[in-house]
Amino acid sequence: MEISNIWYFLSGLTLLSALMVVLAKNPIHSVLYLVFTFFCISGHYVLLNAQFLMAVNIIVYAGAIMVLFLFVIMMFDLRKNQPESKSNLTKLAGSVVAGSLLVVLIALVRQNNFMTPQAEGFISQTGMVENLGKVLYSEYLLPFELVSILFFVAMVGAVLLGKREAGERNF
């Protein structure tokens, strides 16, 4: 089997499941399709020989964030909290906004001819965890440390928000 055939199959599957995220009526189904989309994207990372990115994508998105999504949606009573159907004006405005965004994106892609990496000079080991770590801790050390400070601040903020104040009800 040609590797490009796998790419076409995987891309089709990615687009299909991403569409189903939007089109599914049941929010739980939407979340599960989104999880499947993340798996397809991880498959693309494998095709790019970026195994570390594949594993981290699955651990962080499919393993942690989407579990929390499911968790929250399951807490709702879905039959009571149906969103009321929108008026025609809202639908029209929504499609105009989405359509103009599409036009802008297409224009952007046509204007810039994106750099296509040369197949000859490309080092296949770029995505391996050793090389990725070396680049992160030498060339991009400052952004990396700034991101970790950002995460730390977010963590402290979450703890502060979740903390029970004195005299508040204990559930």
Binding site: N26, I28, L32, V35, Q51, F52, M54, A55, V56, I58, I59, A62, G63, A64, V67, L68, L70, F71, M74, M75, M128, V129, E130
Partner: protein, 374 residues
């Protein structure tokens, strides 16, 4: 092309063998669970089916298949079926990266006794473990039963909480080995340099987290029958229930194998060189595979031993232990391991850290906890 074919066939048959071993061990774990429980409670246990009740797993399987397969009327049918399937799938996927032995040479082809030797092996384990909760979560929600839903939500929050401490205890191992590949971690432990000697604290943290991730007593709150009837599998019957229970036993065996790989030298055993000299490399490798499976089975026994010894935690105790107990200890362990790697005195610093930690707890206990009571 010929070489590729033979390697492919060898790998496929190896994966098939591992699959069969896993299923066999899981089936007989149910028998030994009942036997051990009986021994601890001064009973005889199953002894009717065959000599010593050795055919009991077969009888259980027949019973499971013969029961009515029931799908509740207001449940989400497809997700209801998907729950146990996902549980089985994720339980079986982890064994792909566990190195079951060194290389074996058949004819002129040499191959590893390992499903896939990727350079992110331990991250694969971590990722699959974090996916394991989907089966329970989906099955519990699709049952359309509030007890099932509560069990599923407990399972999800418990898994997420204990994954953090588990990841931190693995990081200490990675700092010592310098590689994410499970094969490299095992090779660094050959000739008796087992990680348990360097990482006593990390091992205890990992063991506790493994209990929580497998939903075993004392952390089996998702199926806590005194509060939730049957937890997430209240509505399940027949072989769908069987899959949920089976997945738990497979998880126990595989997490035993992972613990043996990370902390107990994997396929290393005393006297490898002697056996290699006497019987040849292939025999030594096969004995090593037996050693790894033996270590994993010892862990399965510990799982059962603890189940029939300790009572269940309360839910707030579980969360307190995970977030304000294990995670700070795991952080401390990472710092101590870093110090040990810097000073090149890993055993000394590791055990020194343990002593300092216990002393710190005793001092804290004397100064703070006593004051609170008084």
């Amino acid at each position: 092309m010929n070489l590729f074919d033979s390697v492919f066939i060898a790998k496929a048959s190896f994966i098939g063998v591992i699959f069969l071993i896993t299923l066999g061990v899981a089936a007989y774990s149910t028998y030994f669970e009942r036997k051990i429980a009986a021994f601890m409670q001064d009973r005889i246990g199953p002894d009717r089916a065959g000599p010593f009740g050795i055919l009991q797993p077969l009888a259980d399987a027949v019973k499971m298949f013969m029961k009515e397969d029931f799908i509740p009327a207001n449940s989400n049918k497809w997700l209801f079926i998907m729950g146990p399937c996902l549980s089985m799938l994720t339980a079986l996927m982890t064994s792909a990266v566990v190195p079951f032995g060194d290389t074996v040479t058949i004819g002129d082809v040499t191959f590893d006794l390992q499903g896939i030797d990727v350079n992110i092996g331990i991250l694969w384990v971590f990722g699959v473990v974090s996916l394991g909760v989907y089966g329970i979560l989906i099955g519990g929600w699709a049952s359309n039963n509030k007890y099932s839903l509560l069990g599923a939500i407990r399972a999800a929050s418990q898994n997420i909480s204990y994954e953090l401490a588990m990841g931190l205890s693995i990081i200490a191992i990675l700092m010592m080995t310098g590689s994410l590949s499970t094969k490299a971690i095992v090779e660094a432990q050959q000739n008796g340099h087992w990680n348990i000697l360097y990482q006593p604290m990390g091992f205890v943290i990992f063991l506790i987290c493994a209990f929580a991730e497998c939903n075993r007593t004392p952390f089996d709150l998702p199926e806590c029958e005194t509060e939730l009837i049957g937890g997430y599998h209240t509505e399940y019957s027949s072989m769908k229930l069987g899959f949920f229970l089976f997945a738990e036993y497979i998880n126990m065996f595989i997490s035993g194998a992972v613990m043996a790989t990370l902390y107990f030298g994997g396929y290393d055993y005393p006297g490898v060189d002697f056996v290699t000299a006497q019987l040849g490399a292939t025999a030594a490798t096969l004995i090593g595979m037996g050693a790894l499976i033996g270590k994993a089975l010892a862990f399965v026994f510990i799982f059962m031993w603890v189940r029939w010894t300790l009572p269940r935690f309360r839910y707030d105790q579980l969360m307190g232990l995970g977030w304000s107990g294990l995670i700070p200890i795991a952080m401390f362990n990472v710092v101590v391991t870093g110090l040990g790697v810097l000073l090149n005195q890993q055993i000394l610093v590791g055990f020194g850290g343990l002593v300092v930690f216990i002393a710190g707890i005793v001092v804290y206990d004397q100064l703070v906890v006593k004051k609170k009571i008084a």
